[in-house]
């Protein structure tokens, strides 16, 4: 039984081409994925990401629980209105999911992936044993991500005047509750923008207002090329339960200090760290194909240090060539991918290709 967000009819009205995404009927594009990608890089676009899962964490042990659950240290969120990106691991140090933790006035909010919802909910409940916490899903909220250099300005043009001051002043990874709305400076595109969580009943009217303000609807296709250009991981592709966060470019999401904080998977990932220091753990890196063709997930990467694999690959509309994320042996330098034309050289770069509309690697 496939599910629809509150904006399903709006997607059809906008000419959305609907596909199944983890059991949800979602728009892959509204005509041109490339056009939508450029719209976000140059102006502003809106994504319906209401299929993602919101879980609110309340209770006396909420902080202690989250410090156990995730690799980043939620104690860093010293005041309400702050957010962080993190992974949560299983006991063997594999990535159960990646997520954002928001600190609100009275509680914490997690946003986890849609495709992993069922196992995440079970995992959250399992880790919660012994903690005085309540976990509450919020399916009655819609999530709209509005991104692009003009996004914040366009959203603010639609908000009540008393909200505009606070929303326009939000820094990156900051958030604010405004009545029954929650607005955060987070996203998945490498552009400035906002994620708005609002009652689903209000979402269709707000969607219409955004479109009237010149914000164009963006499908999941462009969402994927935007996040790939930004070097952001996609769960189930760039990492999963068998992959260490250290082999998925997620080391920056691990807070090793204080040493006594015993997050789930800490012992295992500490061993991964040792393997990494010994040169025995692969890395997730960026690839650029400077000739014609498109790198695709699953393609083998042949390096001077052994074989690797492409975990995400596509065409980069901003760079006008193909880019990929690939897991390869550490210290690889010479790198080829087998394409139609035979063994084709690809360049290894840091896994971050485009920020704020501009190429960022050397």
């Amino acid at each position: 039984m496939s599910k629809r967000t509150a904006l399903y009819q709006k997607h059809l009205d906008a000419g959305g081409k609907i596909v199944d995404f983890a059991g949800w009927e979602m728009p892959i594009n509204y005509g041109s994925q490339l056009g939508e990608h450029k719209q976000v890089r140059e102006h502003a676009g809106v994504f319906d990401v209401s299929h993602m899962t919101i879980v609110d964490i309340t209770g006396a042990d909420a902080l202690a629980y989250l410090r156990k659950l995730v690799t980043n240290d939620v104690a860093k969120l010293d005041v309400p209105g702050r957010a962080l990106y993190t992974g949560m691991l299983n006991e063997s140090g594999g990535v159960v999911d990646d997520l954002i933790v928001y600190r609100l006035q009275e509680h914490y909010r997690l946003v986890v992936n849609c495709a992993t919802r069922d196992k995440d909910i079970a995992w959250l409940a399992k880790v919660a044993k012994g903690f005085a916490v309540s976990l509450t899903e919020r399916p009655e909220l819609a999530i709209l991500a509005v991104h692009g250099p003009e996004a914040i300005e366009r959203v603010c043009s639609l908000l009540p005047a008393e909200w505009v001051t606070v929303v326009s002043a939000l820094g990156n990874f900051r958030c604010v509750e405004l009545k029954d709305w929650f607005i955060a400076r987070t996203g998945y595109t490498g552009e400035k923008g906002l994620e708005l969580m609002l009652p689903a009943t209000l979402a269709p009217a707000f969607w219409d207002q955004l479109l009237a303000a010149g914000v164009l609807p963006i499908g999941l296709g462009a969402r994927d090329t935007l996040r790939l250009e930004a070097g952001m991981n996609l769960y189930g592709h760039d990492m999963d339960e068998s992959i260490s966060p250290l082999a998925a470019n997620m080391e920056q999401t691990i807070s090793w200090l204080p040493p006594e904080r015993d997050f789930v998977g800490r012992a295992a990932v500490t061993l991964h760290k040792q393997q990494q220091l010994e040169g025995n753990l692969p890395i997730l890196t960026g690839l650029v194909l400077e000739s014609r063709g498109v790198l695709r997930e699953g393609q083998k990467v042949i390096t001077d240090k052994g074989d690797g694999i492409i975990t995400s690959g596509s065409f980069s509309p901003t760079l006008n060539c193909s880019i990929a994320l690939a897991r390869v042996p550490v210290q690889s330098s010479v790198c080829h991918v087998e394409l139609r034309g035979g063994m084709t050289p690809v360049r290894l770069v840091k896994p971050n290709f485009v920020r704020f509309g501009k190429k960022v690697f050397e």
Binding site: I28, N29, S32, Q33, L34, G221, T225, R292, G293, V294, R296, S314, F315, R340
Partner: protein, 124 residues
């Protein structure tokens, strides 16, 4: 390209002129399924191709697709504009997005292709 199009089940179209030269492209259905085209690899002018053989590759954001020649013959012209503007295949699949022109070596092959109506049934 005033003659009616005929189609292969593999979603290529053919339009033949009076001199026995056919223009070949991919259908609107095919371009829509592929999504935005970013690279096109075309055969060399002068190459001889057989019907149903791989003749070109159309690569979109989503996937690479082999193009099979619906007819046999010698390539007499390719659409060089696609090199810099592959998106013509999306915006104009049956006109500006044509792929190549081929001098037919076996006119009878046209009889094995589908007319508009039969092709529409394949896409339904």
């Amino acid at each position: 390209m005033s003659k009616p199009f005929r189609y292969a089940k593999s979603h290529e179209w053919v339009s033949v002129d009076e001199s026995g030269v056919a223009t070949v492209g991919i259908s609107d259905f095919a371009q829509s399924a592929l999504g935005d085209v970013v690279f096109v690899d075309l055969p060399a002018v002068g190459a001889t191709v057989a019907a149903s053989a791989e003749v070109a590759v159309v690569e979109s954001v989503k996937a690479a697709s082999d193009i099979y020649s619906p007819v046999s013959g010698e390539i007499v012209e390719i659409n060089t504009e696609l090199q810099s503007a592959p998106d013509l295949i999306n915006s104009s699949p049956s006109e500006g997005g044509w792929l190549y022109r081929i001098k037919l070596s076996n006119l009878a092959e046209l009889d094995g292709l589908l007319d508009e109506e039969a092709y529409a049934a394949v896409c339904a």
